[in-house]
């Protein structure tokens, strides 16, 4: 099976405090640690397992700048066979639809049976997979946490509310967005990274993809981020201050009052 997995380089929220910069135009990007979007790792792992079971290949693709190449290499160190970097100044400021437009062009340069994306990324929009499927006019299922290959069809489980699972049969080619927990993404060691360090990764721009620069990028975006700010959700918690003993004493009083201690 020929599988394409769409991945993204994102700031690692487990390793960073995300803060808004002085003007509110962006988050503070100095010293940010980046990594592969959490959901994409599960998607790549799933693709590798399917390939190992039924044969074929796994290609990882991303839209980004030169630095995004590192996430392609990381996923190739994990076991993906090929990487493709979609990069061009004209792509900057694309909204979800713009990104899906570029990915569609990349998909059409190959012949894939299955296209996977992560369920969502740093902006939490969860939109690229569904848009891509609609543009390609192939079936889609989101939040997939189980895939069984059954001939030219797949049996997929979607996660729904309450921990329940919705089973569907879906014909290929199709696009699936992958939910965390579907598998355990394998560990990638330094050795694996070194092995793929010199592999050639093709870079494709607007011309190579045959995409009119006017339909992607900031100019074409219908949805635009105006600014970043720090949310004010509620009144906020009463922060307990003092030495650890003092904090614990206050906390125990609260717990007693609220029925938190038996």
């Amino acid at each position: 099976m020929e599988i394409l997995v769409c991945v993204k380089r994102v700031p690692d929220t487990a390793e960073n405090e995300i803060e808004v910069n002085g003007s509110g135009s962006d988050i503070e990007r100095d010293d940010l640690v980046y990594s592969v979007n959490e959901w994409d790792n599960y998607a790549v792992e799933e693709a590798i397992q399917i390939r190992d079971n039924v044969g074929g290949s796994v290609t990882v693709v991303t839209v980004g700048d030169d630095e995004s190449e590192e996430v392609l290499r990381r996923e190739m160190a994990m076991g993906a066979d090929n990487g493709i970097l979609l990069t061009d100044d004209a792509f900057e400021g694309s909204d979800g639809k713009g990104i899906a437009t570029l990915l569609k062009a990349a998909v059409e340069k190959g012949k894939y049976d299955l296209i996977l994306t992560g369920a969502q990324a740093d902006d939490g929009a969860g939109q690229v997979g569904g848009m891509l499927a609609a543009m390609l006019d192939v079936p889609y299922a989101s939040l997939v946490n189980k895939i069984e290959v059954a001939g030219d069809k797949l049996k997929v489980g979607r996660e729904i509310e309450g921990g329940n699972q919705e089973m569907n049969e879906i014909s290929m080619p199709c696009v699936l967005s992958i939910q965390t927990g579907i598998n355990e993404p394998r560990y990638v060691g330094i050795r694996g990274i070194r092995k793929v360090a010199s592999v050639e990764i093709p870079e494709l721009g607007a011309g190579d993809l045959g995409v009119d620069a006017g339909v992607v990028g900031e100019g074409a975006a219908k949805v635009k981020r105006v600014d970043y700010f720090v949310p004010e959700l509620g009144e906020g918690a009463e922060m307990l201050e003092g030495s650890t003993e003092e904090i614990i004493a206050k906390l125990i009083e609260h717990l007693k009052a609220k029925g938190g201690l038996k």
Partner: protein, 322 residues
């Protein structure tokens, strides 16, 4: 302005809570809008839901078909493409169904899509201004959306306070005949119910809940010891289940269990909306987190800035000495 529609989901003949929230969101787009509800399904359950929704919406469009019996998003997408006007503004809840339906639908309708909207500031000409969150709620953004060719807007559950007082006395129109071709490449098979675990976290008055901040599987024991001392039960956020450190039945959240404890101790949990969506009945929330900017502190009653790996054992010891 273009007509505003709300797609209403339902289960067992009861409309989802989002039915009341979507109309409030619609009013923030256009205070005077006569919002049309769309309900799909089959049988008497559908009729029941349509009638109930008419208490809130002035107009309800009902589409009955065997193909729509289970809300397969691919089928609903085809239906909506067949029946919605080109410049429609459609509101959908940002839940597992809305996430499945909406992005592709916006492409097929050739309209704009804004996902997971937490608040709506209003419309200026053909520009809708909304508020979203990014990076798991650590920062918010103002986002503009060009709605001149219509839009699909996914609304985060729980963000628009329902107005339950009104009775719209709306009309239900059976539009099933307009549904058109609903064939798709995806067939619904069945729903597999969640497995029941060894403990029922929904029955506990006190939960010691751990998140990614617990860092290691062995450290779960620290939480278990505290829970034992308190007479509580250990629950967790999703990454703990994904890592297989605790079983799925211990997960609190929209894709896990809905809990209603008296006291909820969130230890090393950032407070994403999917996690908080599983906590009902406003318990007393204690948040312990080493990052004071974690969104959990905005919803907690009491907050403690601490490393849980150090703080929890000390708390356990102090409780043991009581």
């Amino acid at each position: 302005m273009a007509d505003i529609y709300a797609y209403i989901t339902h289960r067992n003949g009861v409309a989802d809570d989002s039915a009341l929230e979507l109309i409030e969101a619609a009013k923030k787009i256009d205070a005077g809008a006569a919002v049309t509800a769309i309900v799909t399904g089959s049988g008497s359950e559908l009729d029941q839901v349509a009638d109930a929704v008419a208490a809130t919406y002035p107009k309800v469009l009902k589409y009955a078909s065997d193909a729509l019996a289970y809300p397969n998003a691919e089928v609903v997408c085809k239906l909506l493409v067949n029946v919605l006007p080109a410049d429609a503004i459609l509101l959908v809840a940002h839940d597992t169904f809305g996430m499945d339906l909406s992005p592709g639908l916006s492409i097929k309708l050739d309209s704009a899509f804004v996902s997971d909207v937490a608040d709506i500031e209003g419309v200026d000409g053909s520009t809708l201004k909304v508020i979203r969150q990014e990076y798991s709620g650590m920062v918010s953004t103002h986002v503009t959306c060009d709605i001149s060719a219509g839009a699909v807007i996914n609304v985060r559950p729980g963000c628009f306070a329902p107005d339950e007082s009104k009775s719209a006395g709306g009309t239900v129109e059976d539009k099933s005949g307009d549904a058109g071709d609903l064939s798709t490449g995806r067939t619904f098979l069945e729903v597999v119910e969640a497995e029941v675990g060894d403990v029922d976290i929904t029955k506990s008055d006190v939960l010691v809940s751990v998140g990614r901040g617990i860092e290691d599987e062995e450290n779960i024991e620290i939480a278990q010891e505290l829970a034992d001392a308190m007479g509580a039960v250990v629950s967790c956020s999703r990454p703990i289940v994904d890592a297989k450190w605790l079983e799925k039945s211990r997960q609190v959240g929209t894709s896990g269990q809905t809990v209603k404890p008296k006291v909820y101790m969130a230890c090393g949990i950032s407070g994403s909306f999917q996690h908080m969506g599983g906590i009902k009945g406003s318990p007393f929330i204690v948040a312990i987190n080493k990052n004071v900017k974690a969104p959990i502190f905005q919803v907690a009653d009491v907050g403690i800035e601490a490393d849980i790996l150090e703080f929890l054992p000390e708390l356990t010891e102090a409780i043991g000495e009581l």
